[in-house]
């Protein structure tokens, strides 16, 4: 899948577990596997979509990349060098290069900092430029995220901004550092549909202008289709399907991806829509640890095979990877 392009971020067999809190009376809590042997390669300059439901582990993957969490197993590489060993200046440099845009702009901004202070703070922390340079940088980035004219906004505080404006401030704060890699964790899930389009376009522009690579985490395949070059679909911490955006949307192979596509509301007239119908209306009993994670809800599954054996991620056609024993090409059905 390299096509001669460099890999910027690579996740190799990442496992992340959380211990859920035990009971008050001393019973040990269960272990929850948030990510189970996930491997991803992200190419320089692309927007990579990570799609899944809540609890699928998609946010955890993003947090691992920016080092907010540490994996139990596996390695993460930035530009070919492993991240876990970084210390001192190299670590500080890493934090400049790799940034994250959080989901909720109502919580991610400090209410006591003005827009100017919010956006210039990262520059101060990383000791970039003098006061004049910083002011220029803040002005410039504000214009490119559509907070213009900047004079109208610099002295405002988060409570004086709309949700869309707040998220732009959050994006400006990240992009002002000129990072190499940005994790955008559902940046529009708290915003109105009509404002989301704005944020999407800003992300596309940033990729263009700053040559930044993005990991876009979302639960919406239609948003991923609009933004992303490659899409990975994960479910319960397992990689289900991986391929180019066109492959995933137009020729999905995994029953779970098909279920996600089925579930999206469509604009067409009701009569025209065909569904893949890969989702069982009522989930069946299944073991949490054995077999395919999607077995409980899959209508394609073979009862013995899929309940006992975990399907491996395999390449089917050109760079299209699927973890399913019964992966079939999605026909033109849904379209």
């Amino acid at each position: 899948m390299n096509n001669g392009k460099e890999t910027i971020i690579e996740l190799e067999h990442i496992v992340k577990r959380y211990a859920s809190r035990g009971s008050f009376f001393g019973a040990r809590g269960k272990e929850i596997i948030a990510l189970n042997k996930i491997s991803i390669k992200i190419l320089k300059g692309e927007i990579f979509g990570l799609v899944g439901e809540s609890g699928s582990g998609k946010t955890t993957a993003g947090r691992l990349i920016v080092r907010l969490e540490k994996p139990e197993e596996g390695r993460i590489y930035l530009n070919g060098s492993e991240m876990a060993g970084l210390r001192g200046n190299a670590l500080k440099d890493f934090h400049r290069k790799v940034q994250m845009i959080f989901q909720d702009p109502y919580q991610s901004l400090n209410p006591q900092l003005s827009v100017f202070d919010t956006i210039s703070e990262p520059l101060v922390i990383h000791k970039i430029g003098n006061a004049n340079d910083r002011e220029d940088a803040v002005w410039q980035i504000m214009k490119s995220v559509g907070l213009s004219p900047p004079d109208d906004f610099v002295n405002r505080y988060p409570h004086q901004l709309s949700g869309g404006q707040r998220q732009r401030v959050a994006i400006a704060r990240v992009m002002v550092l000129n990072p190499d890699f940005v994790v955008a964790d559902e940046p529009t899930s708290m915003l109105d549909a009509s404002i989301s389009a704005n944020i999407f376009n800003i992300l596309l522009d940033m990729r263009e202008k700053l040559q930044v690579t993005l990991l876009f985490i979302t639960h919406s395949l239609s948003a991923a289709r609009y933004l992303c070059d490659h899409i990975a679909v994960i479910y319960k911490g397992k990689m289900m399907e991986l391929g180019s955006a066109d492959q995933i949307i137009q020729k999905p192979k995994h029953p779970y991806t098909k279920a996600l596509i089925d579930a999206l509301p469509r604009f067409g007239m009701p009569g025209e829509i065909n569904h893949y119908n890969t989702l069982l209306p009522v989930a069946r009993e299944s073991s949490e640890y054995e077999g395919c994670p999607f077995f409980a809800r899959c209508s394609v599954a073979n009862k013995t095979k899929c309940s006992l054996e975990k399907p491996l991620l395999k390449e089917t056609d050109d760079s299209h990877w699927v973890a399913c024993f019964y992966a079939v090409n999605g026909t033109k059905k849904g379209f």
């Binding site: 549909a193 009509s194 639960h219 919406s220 239609s222 609009y226 989702l279």
Partner: protein
């Protein structure tokens, strides 16, 4: 027959900065057994409208004018006591972020039984629990999870429980305000299907409020597009989507990413919604509209009939224009 007819409804709030015109001159009618969807950005007045229909506005909210005819009777003429009889028994509401509406210290089935017992004084507790069991079956929550506490439920299950609660007194009309926001796509789709099935099965009429035009398109027979407190376009789902007439509706549709069709750059709506304490004269969308003209500032609002079931509010063209 129309179960609900709203005529020229205007609702506002007294705030420190002055009177805020949240909903202005909204008229629509809902046929028995059908569903009507209101779409608009946050702050367009859609939630205020839902609350006003239930007469559940906060203390600073006022219904300035208009009539709300439910089964032919004006709800605004009812006393508080009479209104309490109608709420939940005849009109139920699924509130926004309803999953947080469950009381964390009571078991879920007790809370729903309580709603039933409050409105049906003749029932005893055992009968009420039996009804709860039936309701949970309807919305697809298994029996053995009935007596759990809310924190043991997933988001989707809480939402189902809230729907069960709305159905508890077999209402004629349900007002659902963003019932699936914050749910995953698959769960959202299941809940929407559930709502549609129940609606069909019991012939319940519905008002559906959402910022997401695609969800409303999935569920509703008729659609009203709201902008800055005003209804700007109104019609059957098919007509509004295949032949949108108001520039705002067009803008909403072109700012939404889709799974099908050509992948072209989305066109977001520029600018911000107007201040509703001092709303602009004329068309409220004119500052953000790509096809704005001088008449938009000074013209009279006219409802243009694109077809018998599809109307658009326009300021541009007086009476002789056919297209907004």
């Amino acid at each position: 027959m129309a179960i609900l007819e709203v005529e020229n409804l205007s609702v506002g709030y007294h705030t420190q900065k002055g009177y805020l015109h949240a909903v202005e001159g909204v008229s629509f009618s809902l046929e028995e057994g059908k569903s009507f969807g209101f779409v608009g950005e946050s702050g367009c007045g859609k939630t205020t409208l839902g609350m006003a229909l239930m007469r559940l506005l906060p203390p600073n909210g006022v219904i300035r004018e208009g009539r709300i005819l439910f089964e032919g009777v004006d709800l605004l003429q009812k006393s508080d006591e009479e209104m309490r009889e109608i709420r939940w028994q005849k009109i139920a509401m699924i509130f926004q972020a309803a999953m947080n509406a469950l009381n964390p210290v009571h078991r879920v089935h007790e809370q729903i039984a309580e709603a039933i017992l409050t409105h049906h004084v003749s029932l005893d507790k055992k009968e009420a629990f039996e009804q709860v069991e039936e309701l949970f079956q309807l919305v697809g929550i298994s029996k053995d999870r009935m007596s759990d506490y809310p924190h043991q439920y997933s988001g989707g299950m809480k939402q189902r429980a809230i729907i069960a609660m709305a159905l508890a007194c077999k209402p004629r009309l349900i007002i659902a305000d963003e019932p699936t926001t914050a749910l995953d796509v698959i769960v959202q789709n299941q809940i929407l299907k559930e709502i549609m099935n129940l609606q069909k099965e019991f012939g319940i009429s519905m008002i559906f409020i959402s910022h997401d035009i695609s969800i409303v398109a999935e569920v509703c027979h008729d659609i009203g597009i709201m902008y800055a407190g005003k209804l700007v376009e109104l019609g059957s789902r098919e007509e509004v989507f295949s032949n949108p007439a108001h520039p705002y509706t067009k803008a909403l549709l072109s700012s939404y990413p889709t799974l099908t069709g050509e992948k072209s750059r989305l066109i977001p709506i520029q600018g911000e919604t107007p201040n509703l304490i001092h709303p602009p004269s004329g068309c409220r969308f004119r500052d953000r509209c790509p096809s704005t003209k001088a008449a938009c500032k000074t013209g009279e609002a006219v409802w243009i009939e694109n077809s018998p079931r599809h109307k658009t509010l326009c300021y541009q063209c007086g009476t002789d224009c056919k297209q907004g």
